[in-house]
Amino acid sequence: MASFVIRKAIQYVLVFAVAVTVNFALPRVAPGDPLDYLLGEQSHQLGAEQRAQILRQFGLDKPTGEQFRDYVGNLARADLGISVRYGEPVRSVLRDRLPWTLALVGTSIILASLLGTALGVWAAWRRGRRSDIASMALVMFLDSTPIFWLGMLLLGVFSVELGWLPLFGAVPLGDQAGLALTGEVVKRLILPVSTLTLATMGGVFLVARYAVVGTLREDFLFMAEASGLPTRRIVFGHALRNSLLPISTVIMLNLGFMLGGATVVETVFSYPGLGRLVYEGVLARDYPLLQGSFLLIAVGVILCNLVSDLLYPLLDPRVRRPAQVAD
């Protein structure tokens, strides 16, 4: 078990290392002037001398190896550079936006997991009947829609057509405080959360259904029934519990996926989260911002994957205590 944890930890450290390297390497291998990528469009306005000066300032005149060491060193101190667009350290911009993304993704993952699991279990119970096939078709369709389009649809229907919900932002303009403010924030969360939830619950649904269907056929369920166990105990204590293994894995992975997908959702709804920063970085050619947010999102996804991997031994005794006795 310990070796399993260590192996996984090493693996994810490697992933992080790759992300860092990608971040470092890309501006330097990209076609064009590296200064473009570090300063944005303003670099065109600089004279040759200023360029040389800035190159020295950024350490770009040093050999690559040294640059990398500096870069990593900066990272270790959580120095992600200065945002061109905001004119402040990337780090503080990220810090401001992080809670919004957490709110969005956190709510969505809970909803998506609950709904997806409940629907999946129900569909598995009613396997083969019309309601099962209908729900599978619906989910397949939901899974196939581009997330951003789904968001646009919801926006169109609920904001433009029906005028029920606000069009963008997370916080209303004007002064509101306390409960009223909370109400406004919640109102603005509804559509983005709905989008993310609808887009990802399909995955949970399919895994839940598949897992429960597979488990329902297992002999130990028959044994439980033949032993006179109450139905509720059989479904929840045995069928669902065995299905929880893949379900919880998929939920954690969904979380990672959501962190990435939040980018488009936040863009559609102009929601001020981490994901939107990526887009802003792209638009404004603010590459430090872009890279900083990418790295933070990568870290988030890595953590989710790591937790998911670690969850499995906890839930499945077969992983925790591999059999030594041959059959």
Partner: protein
């Protein structure tokens, strides 16, 4: 037909609706088991023996359906009970050791937990007590104390079988239905489990329904043996008699087909033909196509059970008088 028998099955018929028609898995099966008696049910795969067991416990699910017959257990008609109340009987008064028992254990539950759960389903006792009873039960079926908390994947096939047996015995049932309890185990382990069952039966005074395709294994432990073919009972009688002096051609064929270690060397016999599919109701004797002694009447009229000895009956036209 005494009414003091523990189990009394009369005219049981169970069908399965398939795309190609109705399959009569069990047809007009009647038998009884006394208190503390072991009845062995023998037959090839598909002859209906498992269906009989499942029908008894009303575990038949669509597309299967019990269409006729009655089952009296301890004087009570089980079929008259509401479905929901059958739960109280299963695992408490009638227990089942199902086929492929090795997979009958929940992989995320330890042996002790599995057994304790069966106790808790029927008895209102504190958890700790259930666990303690489970522990001693498991030890009494031969699981060493240090393995009681093991998970199924850590136990060998024979040990898993014992755990399942412990689960069946958890609430002191009067009748244990064992469906192929030793199939799939290697020979030595088979002998061990059989001896365990025999031992338990003596100690606890259990009645047992021992289902198997292996007539010799069955005969070692049973008081009476019932042979099934094509969903019907073809022969029934005291174990020793049925095995040493079989009357029905199918039983004779079964026994002849078993290679033995002792006795004179000879050819290995088999029964020609294939098992009947059971589709539709076949007029006449189901075994007729493969029977070496088949007569004209056999394909037209179904033979009813005839007495061929003391408490020994066979459904065959050969014993018409």
């Amino acid at each position: 037909m005494t009414s003091t028998r523990l189990l009394e099955v009369d005219g049981l018929s169970t069908v399965y609706q398939t795309e190609r028609g109705t399959v009569w898995a069990v047809q007009d099966v009647s038998f009884g088991i006394e208190k503390g008696e072991v009845l062995g049910i023998v037959g090839e795969s598909g002859c209906g023996k498992t269906t009989v067991a499942m029908s008894l416990l009303r575990l038949i699910k669509p597309p299967g359906k019990i269409v006729a017959g009655s089952v009296r257990f301890d004087g009570e008609n089980l079929f008259a009970r509401r479905r929901a109340t059958m739960r109280a009987v299963r695992g408490d008064r009638i227990a089942m050791v199902p086929q492929a028992a090795m997979h009958a254990l929940d992989p995320v539950c330890s042996a002790a937990t599995s057994v304790a759960e069966v106790i808790l389903a029927h008895r209102d006792v504190p958890r700790k007590q259930a666990k303690a009873s489970a522990s001693s039960l498991l030890q009494s079926v031969g699981i060493p104390e240090e393995r009681i908390g093991s998970y199924p994947h850590e136990l060998s096939g024979g040990m898993r079988q014992r755990v399942v047996i412990a689960m069946a015995l958890a609430n002191d049932p009067s009748l244990v239905v064992a469906d192929e309890p030793v199939t799939g185990l290697d020979v030595i382990v088979q002998a061990q489990v059989l001896s365990l069952l025999s031992d338990l039966r003596k100690r606890l005074g259990l009645a047992m329904m021992f289902i198997s395709h292996d007539i010799r294994a069955v005969s070692k432990i049973s008081d009476r043996v019932m042979v099934m073919y094509g969903g019907r009972v073809v022969e029934e009688g005291p174990a020793a008699e049925v095995v040493h002096a079989p009357k029905h051609p199918y039983t004779q064929g079964l026994l002849a087909a078993m290679p033995t270690m002792d006795g004179p060397r000879g050819d290995v016999h088999s029964i020609p033909g294939e098992v009947v599919s059971g589709l539709g109701d076949v007029a006449g004797c189901p075994f007729e196509p493969r029977c070496p002694s088949a007569m004209d009447v056999c394909s037209q009229v179904h033979p009813s059970a005839r007495s061929v000895g003391n408490g020994h009956g066979a459904a065959c036209h050969l014993y018409e008088e």
